[in-house]
């Protein structure tokens, strides 16, 4: 599994005057789940595309610093080569359908055919990916006939089948209804359990808090912090970066209930309820 190392990354899109990423440095350990948060235009998507090699190899533009995925320096490798190591899923599931395949099964094979994977191996990988994403029942359906959530799971399956070491999900649920969103999160959870490194941009802070090992907070193209969800969402200046803490954190903050061991507010329902239960127990002991 590959470690990701980003050193002093700077990037400016062609025909623009402002940096899209400004001196970003951090590293990601193999198997980690990293959430990326920040307000619009903070550089979240650009950062994802820099890790996948689309920046600068697809967009061109001015680039400085270094992104290493394992032993590969991303800038020096073509995107069609990089996709074997880093897979990326975009916001709009509809635009990720190739349009050249008539069934979901064939659609998932698209990347594998391009990679020259032998047919027997291809079938094995497609079956595994479909099973993992729970879309086997749609295998003979036309990709355009799927719902948003199903289509997004198909897009993830298409990437999974290519067996990358890192999967980047750039707001994969932003255009989905609540059911579709839940389907995608369940799928992502399964991938995380398999030990795949996941980097996810998401506006749903409850989900980021629930799944992430660490959270990257970006603001105005710069890295503000990378830390555990508890530490990030307990920051007093979080609002100034246009980011809202999860609802459980907000409640606990309102009640001034911090976890004494970590010095942070709870970020998930489980953490908050554990804290409440402990407080109730302590209270009843005192009485």
């Amino acid at each position: 599994m590959a470690r990701i190392e980003i050193e002093h990354l700077k990037y400016q899109y062609p025909a623009t005057t402002k940096l899209a990423l400004d001196d970003i440095s951090f590293s990601v350990e193999p198997g980690e789940f990293i959430g990326i948060i920040g307000k619009n235009e903070s550089g979240k998507s650009t950062l994802c595309q820099a890790i996948a090699g689309l920046v600068p190899n697809f967009y061109k533009g001015s680039y400085g610093g270094k992104v290493m995925v394992g032993e590969i320096e991303v800038k020096t490798v073509e995107v069609n080569e990089m996709c074997k190591t880093v897979g990326i899923v975009f916001q709009n599931p509809f635009n990720q359908v190739t349009g050249s395949k008539l069934t979901v099964y064939e659609e998932i094979s698209f990347g594998l055919e391009n990679m020259g994977i032998p047919k027997v191996e291809m079938i094995k990988r497609i079956d595994e990916a479909m099973e993992l994403l729970d879309i086997i029942k749609y295998k003979d359906r036309n990709p355009f006939d799927l719902s948003g959530g199903q289509m997004q799971r198909m897009a993830i399956a298409s990437i999974i089948a290519m067996q990358p070491e890192v999967i980047i999900l750039d707001e994969p649920t932003s255009q989905l209804d609540p059911q579709g969103r839940e389907e995608v999160f369940q799928a992502v959870q399964k991938l995380s359990k398999k030990g795949i490194t996941i980097i996810m941009v998401e506006h749903n802070m409850e989900k980021i808090a629930q799944y992430s090992d660490r959270v990257v907070l970006l603001n105005d193209t710069k890295l503000v912090a990378i830390d555990t969800p508890q530490k990030i969402f307990s920051r007093d200046d979080l609002d100034s970066f246009g980011v809202e803490a999860p609802v459980f954190t907000k409640i606990c903050r309102g009640l001034h209930l911090k976890n004494e061991e970590t010095g942070c507010y709870p970020v998930t329902l489980e953490e908050a309820s554990r804290l409440f239960q402990r407080l109730v127990k302590e209270e009843s002991h005192n009485e």
Binding site: V79, Q96, G99, M122
Partner: protein, 261 residues
């Protein structure tokens, strides 16, 4: 799912035959009657095409295709039969309207040729999945990029049409008038064109990214999930077609040589 492809899977032998065999059939159906110079050969190919389409259970799908061209062909028959220069032999009189043998004969030649072209193409397009055809070509060295463009058109154009309809509805709900005289329709076109072009550009960029991260531009030798579409008889069908075309060419050359001798 809407698709502009006319292909229909009926499990017939024609569905299983290699697309190259059907393309060779089209070439034979167009070239041989021309080289031999006989209308009867065209008629023979028309009958062969009809039998093939019947065996593939897709003959009904030819009705709309023939319906559209039928209107044009009837017009040709009427105009040539009535007004062709050199019309001298009347064959039918309806009061002052006189049909002439020479004009009708000439028009029949056109009708037979057009029907031959349409029906032979129907044999290909109604029984061949576009992706199978392109995959077979890519296997033989055709560029996968051009192949992708050709195949994706069949699904992406209907999707773009749907997007256009959605944008039209959205603009109409904001008070845009789309019905009325030509001026109103032209005026309605302006607020439509910008969002349609913008959304198309955005979609195209996003799709290009999605293709790129799935190795679309990879230089590795492509593999295929589906087996090559062909049956054992394909080589004999293709050989037969090539022999027939070569024989027709030889026949024509002999005819020309004999004419000058």
């Amino acid at each position: 799912m809407k698709s502009i492809s006319l292909y229909e899977e009926k499990g017939s032998v024609l569905n299983k035959i290699a697309p190259e065999s059907k393309i060779l059939y089209i070439v034979a159906a167009l070239v041989i009657p021309y080289l031999i110079g006989s209308r009867w050969v065209s008629l023979g190919f028309i009958i062969a095409s009809i039998l093939l389409l019947l065996s593939a259970k897709v003959i009904r799908k030819t009705v709309p295709i023939l319906g559209v061209s039928g209107f044009v062909l009837i017009t040709v028959l009427l105009i040539q039969g009535l007004f062709r220069a050199g019309n001298v032999t009347p064959i039918l009189s309806l009061g002052p309207v006189v049909f002439y043998k020479e004009g009708v004969n000439f028009a029949l030649g056109i009708v037979i040729n057009v029907l031959n072209i349409l029906l032979s193409f129907c044999v290909l397009i109604l029984t061949t999945k576009p992706s199978d055809m392109i995959e077979n070509f890519v296997r033989k060295g055709f560029s996968p990029r051009f192949g992708y463009v050709f195949i994706s058109i069949f699904q992406i154009i209907p999707q773009m049409t749907e997007t256009m309809a959605t944008i039209t509805d959205a603009q109409r709900s904001r008070g845009m008038e789309t019905e009325g005289n030509l001026f109103i329709r032209v005026k309605a076109f302006i607020p439509l064109i910008s969002p349609v072009v913008m959304s198309s550009l955005i979609n195209t960029k996003e799709r290009a990214l999605a293709l790129e991260v799935r190795g679309f531009n990879s230089t590795i030798q492509k593999t295929f999930l589906n087996d090559e579409k062909k049956i054992p008889a394909d080589k004999w069908i293709q050989l037969g077609m090539v022999v027939a075309i070569v024989a027709a060419i030889v026949f024509r050359i002999v005819l020309v040589v004999m004419y000058f001798m």
